[in-house]
């Protein structure tokens, strides 16, 4: 790792505004995102987008709506009309809705199919649309949309949305960097309280309490502190991803998978930490050797994150280190949450491996190594791809495992 990968991000790492500017400019960010979307929509010859995925809707509209865990039920909640560029949003109130979306473009939630159809029919330009891009919805909603635009062709808009979202604007990058820094702060806070007897979920709770002190409340993934199993079993995998209420014990290696949202943008990382008592002891040689294996792996993955190369190259890079591919994506995109490209064992190549890495993309690379009798090691770092390489956004230490025994 050279210092060129660790440029100073300047004053951008903070959640409060600066009166002179210099942090994310949200108005500019929304305008640039919408422009990218409209350009893709018009290139594809689409007349409208009818979107259900919350992150797609947020990209197009900039609306901050109530956060709910899990998948949304795929009701169209955002409509973009190509000719006018106007955005129509499912929101009963204007709170959280950007000022450029006028009140008359808001509509309520679709408990009642009749009202929902009426809301769609009231969107100027939608009924006349011939080619409509969708990202998915329930069969019931598809039937309702079909009743409003019976002769329109419904087209998979996922590829164009992925293209629009793939390369980040300056402001998007600032949001992701801030989210990474906050996630690292929350992780530090939780790791300070990693002691024998605490529960895995308890550590996540402590992580979230620190998040609140930054004025933020949204995690990317929950309960992600897991004791790594020392032994592989015939029945069970050696990688645990679901935190439980089990206690962490002295000597356990704890895989910490942490992420938070800032203005909808995700930043996160994974580190593996040794649970110790009040006195910090050096890690065992076997534990340090696990860290060295991750370190080698990480350097190999980072070396593959170069503009112009297919994202799928990280798989070969992973395998060349001799480590078996884990049941996790080994590379994925970051933006308004987790997004393509997705690369890893069992992931279809059209989900990411064939994507060419470009400057301006933000990528997470991760890996898991395991040593029978010692435990496992999960690591993840985030890079912003630059014109000639990358800039490392994750700065958090690797702790006692990375320290050589004196």
């Amino acid at each position: 790792m050279t210092h060129a990968h660790l440029q100073d991000p300047g004053p951008s790492l903070g959640t409060g505004p600066l009166e002179e500017g210099g942090r994310a400019d949200f108005g500019r960010m929304r305008a640039e995102r919408l422009a990218r979307c409209l350009a893709e929509v018009r290139d594809e010859g689409l007349d409208a987008l009818v979107l259900g995925d919350e992150s797609n809707a947020r990209y197009v509209s900039g609306a901050r709506r109530l956060w709910l865990a899990g998948t949304r039920s795929f009701a169209p909640s955002c409509v973009l009309v190509a000719a006018s560029g106007s955005i129509h949003l499912m929101s009963t109130w204007e709170d959280g809705v950007p000022q450029e979306i006028p009140r008359q473009n808001l509509f309520g939630a679709p408990w009642d199919p009749g009202r929902f159809v009426a809301a769609l029919e009231g969107i100027p330009g939608l009924k006349e649309a011939r080619r409509i891009g969708i990202d998915g919805m329930s069969p019931r909603m598809a039937a309702l949309v079909g009743s409003v635009v019976p002769s329109a062709e419904l087209i998979d808009a996922t590829p164009l949305l992925v293209r629009a979202r793939r390369v980040k604007t300056t402001d998007e990058l600032a949001c992701i960097e801030t989210a990474v820094a906050v996630a690292e702060a929350c992780l530090t806070h939780a790791l300070d309280r990693l002691r024998p007897g605490i529960t895995e979920r308890g550590l996540f709770g402590i992580f979230m309490e620190r998040l609140g002190s930054f004025g933020l409340t949204i995690p990317s993934v929950e309960a992600s502190f897991c004791v790594t199993p020392r032994h592989a079993t015939s029945a069970g995998p050696t990688l645990r991803r679901i935190g439980t209420d089990r206690n962490v014990n002295k000597g356990d290696l704890v895989a910490c998978d942490a992420g938070v949202h800032y203005a909808g943008y995700e930043g996160g990382l994974a580190r593996t930490w040794l649970c110790q008592g009040a006195v910090t002891r050096p890690a065992t040689p076997a534990q340090q050797s696990l860290h060295r294996r991750w370190s080698t792996l990480r350097d190999a993955l980072l070396a593959a994150c170069r503009p112009g190369r297919p994202a799928g190259d990280v798989v070969a890079a992973y395998q060349q280190t001799g480590e078996p591919l884990p049941s996790l994506p080994v590379l994925y995109g970051l933006g308004l949450g987790m997004e393509p490209p997705f690369v890893g064992a069992g992931i279809p190549s059209d989900a990411g491996a064939i994507t060419t890495i470009e400057a301006g993309m933000v990528l997470a690379i991760q890996g898991y190594v395991h040593e029978e009798g010692t435990g496992g090691y999960l690591g993840r770092d985030v890079v912003a791809v630059t014109g000639d390489g990358f800039r490392l956004l994750t700065r958090h230490s690797y702790g006692s495992l990375a320290e050589e025994r004196k």
Binding site: D53, R64, D95, W111, D135, S138, T217
Partner: protein, 408 residues
């Protein structure tokens, strides 16, 4: 006396494997009645109901990028689970019914999903294909892979199976509610002028995970209410704007805060709602107290007719009469919603589907209802609290126990 110990995982009162088995029987029966040959579930709550895998609640972007998918086919007692979290696979599915994850967000991945469905259905789907959510690539390729099988919405069979809960499901909801309430004592204790919404959320989340919650469903709401609708944000229906997202907003002396939250316990949601006062010494005014009294009268009147055989219309009628003929709930919501693996599910009573729809809902033992009447006096704010009850053989059983502080 409330216990501050962690709420346990399984004991005599809860049998998670029995719960999963009983849910599968219901779901299979609904499939058979509707001629559904394969049920394909992609939604977090629906998969949770069909499978009962331990899960990781996550932002929607992760939930759709690393999907947990369930497929149930006619003639097979067990569902197939496709998951990136094999450590959460229920024991009865390990081996033959637990598979690596599928990725239906891309064209190749959508083909792989329907190919897997055909495979577990023994070559082809006999009857209808019921799906809860479809990605755009799934719409493109479904008939190419599965032939001209009719595609129907899984919402109906799911709702029919989910509406009446088993004893274990009710116990999960009760425990979720308990964790939610115990955590809120700490939040209420730190409510004072100058605290930020996000700080309240931070303490809440720390406490629920200490207490044994398995997740959190909703970014908790701590909304200072404008005293009149005109003074609040514009709404499309002219009603009170609620719930609005929390931020780093600083709460101030005199704020009347409406709270809403929901945690997860083994797939089941709680629903906690109340009204708090942000004051150096929280003491309701006479008018605030009268709003609360009216709210209580509405709840008591509604509960007095809550028993098996009563219709949704009986409940809305009782609530409206107790409020002197005015509708005591928000226009964009309802008087009552059900709760289970979704924080709001059927039955919806008092929604704008209308009185005829409500008259078609008949209460049955095992339904779990959240009553959320709102008393609003424009210009003077209002009171809202959520009462959660299970319908029993002869009436109802409260599942919550939080005091109406600082109103009594």
């Amino acid at each position: 006396m409330l216990s501050h110990a962690r709420v346990g995982t399984e004991d005599e009162g809860l049998d998670l494997s029995r719960m999963r088995r009983e849910r599968r029987v219901r779901l299979r029966s609904e499939m058979e009645q509707r001629g559904v040959g394969a049920l394909v579930l992609l939604g977090t709550s629906a998969v949770q109901y069909a499978v009962g895998a331990s899960h990781v609640l996550a932002d929607g972007s992760h939930a759709v990028s690393e999907r947990v998918i369930a497929v149930m086919v006619a003639g097979d007692e067990l569902p197939h689970l496709y998951t990136p979290y094999p450590d959460g696979c229920p024991t009865e599915l390990v081996g033959s019914h637990c598979h690596p994850p599928l990725h239906p967000g891309s064209p190749e991945g959508a083909v792989a999903l329907f190919t897997a469905v055909a495979e577990v259905a023994g070559g082809r789907v006999e009857g209808a294909l019921a799906v809860d959510e479809m990605t755009a690539p799934m719409y493109v390729c479904v008939s190419r892979i599965l032939g001209d099988v009719p595609v129907v919405d899984a919402g109906e069979p799911l709702a029919a199976a989910k509406t009446v809960k088993t004893a274990d499901e009710i116990e999960c909801i009760r425990r979720a509610q308990r964790i939610n309430e115990v955590a809120m004592y700490d939040v209420e204790a730190m409510l004072r002028p100058g605290v930020r919404q996000s700080e309240l959320t931070g303490v809440f989340l720390r406490r629920i995970f200490e207490l044994g919650a398995t997740g959190n469903w909703i970014d908790p709401i701590f909304q200072p209410m404008a005293l009149s609708i005109a003074a609040g944000p514009y709404t499309t229906n002219g009603d009170v704007a609620f719930p609005l997202c929390s931020t780093d907003r600083i709460l101030s002396e005199g704020d009347v805060v409406w709270v809403d939250s929901g945690v997860d316990y083994f797939g089941y949601a709680s629903d906690f709602g109340t009204t708090w006062l942000v004051n150096d010494r929280p003491e309701p005014t006479a008018r605030q107290r009268s709003q609360f009294e009216r709210w209580k009268a509405v709840v008591e009147a509604t509960l007095s007719v809550t028993r098996p055989g009563a219709t949704g219309a009986d409940l809305t009628k009782a609530a409206i009469e107790a409020n002197d003929g005015a509708v005591p709930w928000l226009e964009h919501f309802y008087l009552i919603h059900g709760i289970g693996t979704s924080s709001a599910e059927t039955p919806l009573i008092g929604s704008h589907l209308g009185p005829e729809f409500d008259a078609g809902i008949t209460l049955a033992p095992g339904m779990v209802l959240v009553l959320e009447p709102v008393i609003w006096e424009d210009g003077y704010g209002g009171y809202r609290f959520e009462e959660i009850v299970a319908v029993t053989e002869h009436g109802y059983l409260p599942l919550g126990n939080y005091p109406y502080s600082p109103f009594e």
